[in-house]
Symmetry: D3
Subunit: 250 residues, 6 copies
């Protein structure tokens, strides 16, 4: 059910029975001393592939780059500007819409993408509302689901880590990424154990001053591969529930 592994004739056949698609979107940014630069892309990709496999939903290629400007003072971060990401999302949706996809479900792994996703949806809808956009296309529904914010995931993170979950380089996302990439697990002592809390709405230099090792409010040394497996189950249930409600609202 991965678009990358299908032929165009197989996509054609899929569109005759189903017009929804999942697009995983992440980021490429530092995730503290033991978290992977790819965490935010690996997590939603893993969840999306599992949803696709279990329930027969087509999954587009992962958008690996997101809006991560505040992490640019840490080596390895690659950020798009919001205006660039809006253009990427717009072209993605127009392309899918041309083929007859009516419901595009962005499965998101990065809090920093949320506002830009929403702005991009409005930009796309505005083309039609202002009457100058891709007028022939029909119905078009767009939504974002943050895997890390589903109710089952939130509950599990609370029960496993409590206050040490944090808001960036969280224990839960590190756990899920380790389950997906066990060869990349790193064991690192955290100092301080729980990172400082605060706002990420600033530029890169200021962010690094506020959060010297990149973590925000978390102790990701609590993460484990076994936890990751449980997060996958929880997030697949959350995402599938959200997808169904999106495709066929009551």
């Amino acid at each position: 059910m991965r678009l990358q592994h299908a032929t165009w004739q197989e996509v054609d056949a899929y569109l005759r029975r189903e017009t929804g698609i999942i697009v995983p979107i992440g980021s490429t940014e530092q995730h503290g001393p033991n978290g992977l630069v790819g965490t935010d892309a690996i997590c939603p990709e893993t969840v999306a592939w599992e949803v696709g496999e279990r329930y027969g939903v087509l999954v587009a290629p992962t958008q690996n780059l997101g809006m991560a400007q505040h992490h640019l003072a840490f080596p390895g971060t690659i950020s798009l500007r919001p205006s660039t990401l809006i253009a990427v999302l717009r072209d993605t949706v127009i392309s899918l819409s041309r083929h007859g996809f009516t419901h595009v479900f962005f499965l998101n792994g990065h809090g920093g993408n949320v506002a830009t996703l929403s702005a991009a949806f409005a930009e796309i809808h505005a083309e039609r509302s202002m009457g100058y956009g891709p007028q022939p296309v029909g119905e078009l529904h767009l939504t974002t689901h943050n895997w890390f914010a589903g109710s089952r995931v939130r509950e599990l993170a609370e029960s496993l880590y409590g206050d040490a979950e944090g808001t960036h380089a969280t224990a839960s996302e590190v756990a899920l990424s380790w389950f997906a990439r066990p060869e990349a697990v790193k064991h690192v002592d955290m100092s301080p154990r729980i990172a400082p809390r605060g706002s990420a709405q600033c530029d890169a230099d200021e962010f690094r001053r506020r959060f010297p090792d990149g973590r925000m409010g978390s102790d990701p040394s609590l993460a484990s591969i076994e936890h990751g497996e449980r997060f996958l189950d929880a997030s697949v249930s959350d995402a599938w529930e959200a997808y169904r409600a999106f495709i066929r609202p009551i």
Copy 2:
């Protein structure tokens, strides 16, 4: 304390003691049968002027146009695209930053602006994080405060209207706008009494299909000028608290 009423020498003097500024931002869009097209601009402007008056904070001119593409099927709505609004906010902040303003507090009256404000802040910060922007400027802090989401305002709306408050053309915003513009009060029967609920993330034609008279989940016939006065008090307290926490974080 209104920037429009100051000379440049007065602004110069202000900057020697204080480097924060409030920018009211609203929208120009339908607000149902008895709500004003200007509701979303009038409300934050009224709150901002009152905060400015009481506490000596400078208030910039109101940004009257916001992101309202989903309301374009109702006459009178004027919308900026997100990309246009990002450019406006960017130029506004760069201008203020050049003069030495370090804290720009957007007092917002429209839910549809929230994502674009956040994307705009990231666009501005990204210029600096990527090293190609207005490098000489110093400290720069940006935030959004939604007057309608402050705790005192929420509590008052709950106590006065409960479920009939709604999410667009709400009873509370109609009340506040009427207090600010008593000459424009309209008495209209609502049918159905409480408007349908749902999502506004769609284009203009779809929005009008979902919400035929423009209201979302509200009964704004419950609004009154007297309520409006109480909302002003509540929102001024909320906004001032938020402003102080922004300017001088503990």
Copy 3:
């Protein structure tokens, strides 16, 4: 007759009898030692509201920010780049055009906006001329009227101030803004009495070198509230004459 004070149903009713609208557009920029930062927005807004009141023409919210890059070396100035202002004007016109407005009359208070307004009109028309724009919309007429350049206003300024009228922070605009905002009148001695003359086509630092206190060729200490009232009458007559000629050309 202010769009901000109407409901969408009232706009709907207006459109059945009349499809013209006035959009006041100004700037937020220094106006010398006794002129208000908001002068260029306050003046056309005041004229537009009076025209609307007397003659029943709908008036859109004021565009408070204009093209004022050359004033940025004076605190309080907020400028849009021409490209940003073009986008704002384009979205404004497309929004109005969608509702059936056919004649958009920009009542302008700032000389620095004139070229950008004209470029924006051409950008909007070019979308249609190139066949890729908002094709369904019908007739579309766009014009700019500078309140300060009407024949009655010019004559009055000449008779009251002669050479001391100047070209920025003029005596006439200071007078009109004071009539509109009597609470903001400032009495300041001018030195030199008449400011230097010259061109404003330069960047901000160069502008401040050329015009140290912000005035260009004017002595606005000659202004008075009583003069302002006369300027209002003259400019309302000028604007109404221009509006009628625009809406119903002979």
Copy 4:
């Protein structure tokens, strides 16, 4: 003195004694039944080359495309959008500024370019005023001279054609272009003799409705090669006077 005919070493030598340059800018658009599509480029180019020759001023290559959207309903017209032309002018000026040119004198042949030239200058200056542009560059002066609006040219046109000069496909510009390109002279009867007058601020289809054969208020059948020679002399004097005043203001 044509930049296209110089080597870079010759430009280098020129810059040691002089830092001004003339950039001819025109348009590619219909000019009625006997006017050439290239009229607006050929005229300023011819004037510029003659000024360059007589007075030793460097002349850049002609910008052949301008803002001509209103002429697009006539075959042969090629128009840039204002936003495109702003980008072209901006890159041109930044390139010249990098080499040390401090005064860029646009010798313009098309009324439709005037607003966009002015907006482009503001866009360029705004980059510096906002502190994010090409900061290292030094002094930068930009101006437009319309060859057709110089006092000697106006006087000559008045004396030769009176009311039949018109405002597009004028007798004077046709005459000058014929002097420059005698091989392209066309003899065509005009009907009506003097074309209708009116405004060109509209889209292409509307323009063609207003001005069926492309002329505006003119009778270009009055033009002759001999007149063209006199217009060249007049316009070279006008342009040289304007250039000197620009380079070395009193």
Copy 5:
């Protein structure tokens, strides 16, 4: 050696010994009856990971979307406009440059990306050449290597398929993608055996008219997993040779 699997501290350490990085870039587009929609991303990603593994070069996340507008009439294709892709590449390079990467090697899997990659490099260099870009960054080298155009790969394709290799949905790329994704191999008869040849420089509808099943000049039914393994070896040698020459030119 995959950036997605590294921590920022590991990237930091890498940068102390090496400042080159490989960025795989592909496309998401139809590849005929037996080729995968993800072929153009899977191939360079596979080559890049192998080069990274064997020679210790860091590999950035794959850019899965490319310039594929001409394939949009086949379901499953997702295309960026050239202008969007330029923005993505620009932000990617600026991000990497900020960290100290000096050599960015794009390992490309799609012919349709070549021109846009080159234009993007020029856009990035132009920011510096015009003096307004990310000035503090140091040395910056950018190049594209097309895995499918390396000498060893060309020789192998010629020897295996001769004329049946083709230019889109080629036998060689199908073979390599199958080796990388054996679970996605499809056996489909081709009719005609060798697809028509021609140019892809056209829009989507025209492309589908020219190439009805999506192939251009190829018979990809000749592909096999075993061939794919040989193409991987050949392309890794080609890419590594090109990378070394890029990093340390003689």
Copy 6:
């Protein structure tokens, strides 16, 4: 057959029998010690005019500015950014397409334009493929022919100069430009006789370090006016052959 010398009625008549057009495109950039800054525009313009004359094909005005950012460290160079050039080419093609031109043949004189031309074509086609562009226009074919890369020109350059032809400020283009502008011939000794070879994919300062006098691999002192005449013949034959194959493919 020059569009600049035609009336719109003549273009109208041409379009009834023929819908192809040639657009010369060059650059304004240094060409070493004896080459003209205008070489890259003068050469294709000369070839285009000759093709137009001999075979009755319409020739649009020359695009004198191209993508020359790498030459900006040499005085006299004027460069457009790729994004600006894309906008220019897009507006040019949309304008021509509106009139009914179906085949636009860019006769190019500058290697640095090739990628951007190709990206611009894709941008134009993408507007249609994505369904939001100038939909009413019909057939649209776009191509680039590099006069310097035609087989007859290559053969002649090889026979005359061998290795001394080089890749920038080549002997062949200097020869052709001298034939076109005999008054601008310069005799300069070259040192070293053959300039260094290398890549031009870098910024302006780096380019000047690599190629101190601006030449790349050439000895243009071998050029002569007589050679130029032979290059004109060869290139006219090459271009006409390419044009015919483009207009009426077999």
